[in-house]
Symmetry: C2
Subunit: 181 residues, 2 copies
């Protein structure tokens, strides 16, 4: 009878990605449980958001692992990265927005780890001569987040086709990063 904590988080993520201001009651209904049970699993809204953050970081880390960022050409790694991140793009956009609210207090160290891994990829591309060096790896990482977020929203709003997600982002990003540009 034990509720599936993972299931609750995924339902909450799906709902909050669409409507970030959903109430605990709405989250509970979306997960198919009562508000009381939701509260038994997560002490409060903050705890739920933190748990979602942990889940998102976990999924991102897994995506980065699957993308094998330190193998082969950096450009190919970017391709794999965007491909692996696509399934969690909407969720990521939600977390990034939500994270901006946590200004100052307890910034989860996990974000720095993700940032570092992606930044390292861009730096590797620069050092290998694949990428131009007049755009900092930190900015490229931020830009990637922005493009992924824009892509996720554009797809969700139906302004662009979902099948073009990877192509659009990778082509635009790499085109600007490629040294031959």
């Amino acid at each position: 009878m034990a509720v599936d904590r993972e299931h609750i988080l995924r339902a909450a993520a799906a709902l909050l990605t669409r409507k970030a201001t959903s109430t605990m009651d709405e989250v509970a209904k979306a997960a198919g449980i009562s508000r009381a049970t939701l509260h038994r699993q997560f002490a409060g809204r903050d705890a739920l958001i933190r748990a979602l953050e942990a889940l998102g970081l976990e999924q991102l880390d897994a995506a980065l692992d699957a993308a094998r960022l330190d193998e082969g050409a950096a450009a190919d790694a970017v391709h794999r990265l965007v491909a692996e991140v696509e399934p969690v793009a909407g969720f990521l956009a939600f977390l990034v927005t939500e994270n901006q609210l946590f200004e100052g207090d307890g910034m989860n160290e996990g974000w720095n780890r993700i940032d570092d891994r992606i930044t390292a990829l861009f730096r590797r591309g620069q050092e290998s001569g694949e990428f131009r060096i007049d755009l900092s790896p930190v900015w490229l990482t931020e830009a990637l987040y922005g493009l992924v977020g824009s892509g996720a929203w554009a797809v969700q709003d139906g302004r662009v086709a979902a099948k073009d997600f990877q192509f659009m982002i990778v082509e635009l990003l790499l085109g600007g990063v490629r040294r031959s540009a």
Copy 2:
């Protein structure tokens, strides 16, 4: 003794750009007026947000006018566009985020006008042969929003220098759009 409505809006924009969940009381304090007076000027929070939206659209329209999007090379127009938009980048990011909450109901027609003007610029660049044609103007417009938003946040968080704002965005965007990429 009449309060400066424009001043209130600018103060509200500056505050809400940093903390989107600020209360009416905080907004009033930031504007240097009482909550009662704030309420006399704007019927409620919704009215305030709508007024901010109108202000933002007005500023964006002015920025687009100043950028003379239909003059000269499309790439140069993009340069001018980013330069003109920079001062309102943070504000724009706030409005775009806030706008996503207004799902469905009264979408302000002004956004479509802005979208159309920028989309037309990219289309012009494609038709003149300056820009590659395998990335849709609609996506490029969305991507520009994403990059501007990322740039604004990165500058605000101190991750990149403010003086690099234009260069970073234009170089990354154009590099991906330039046909020779």
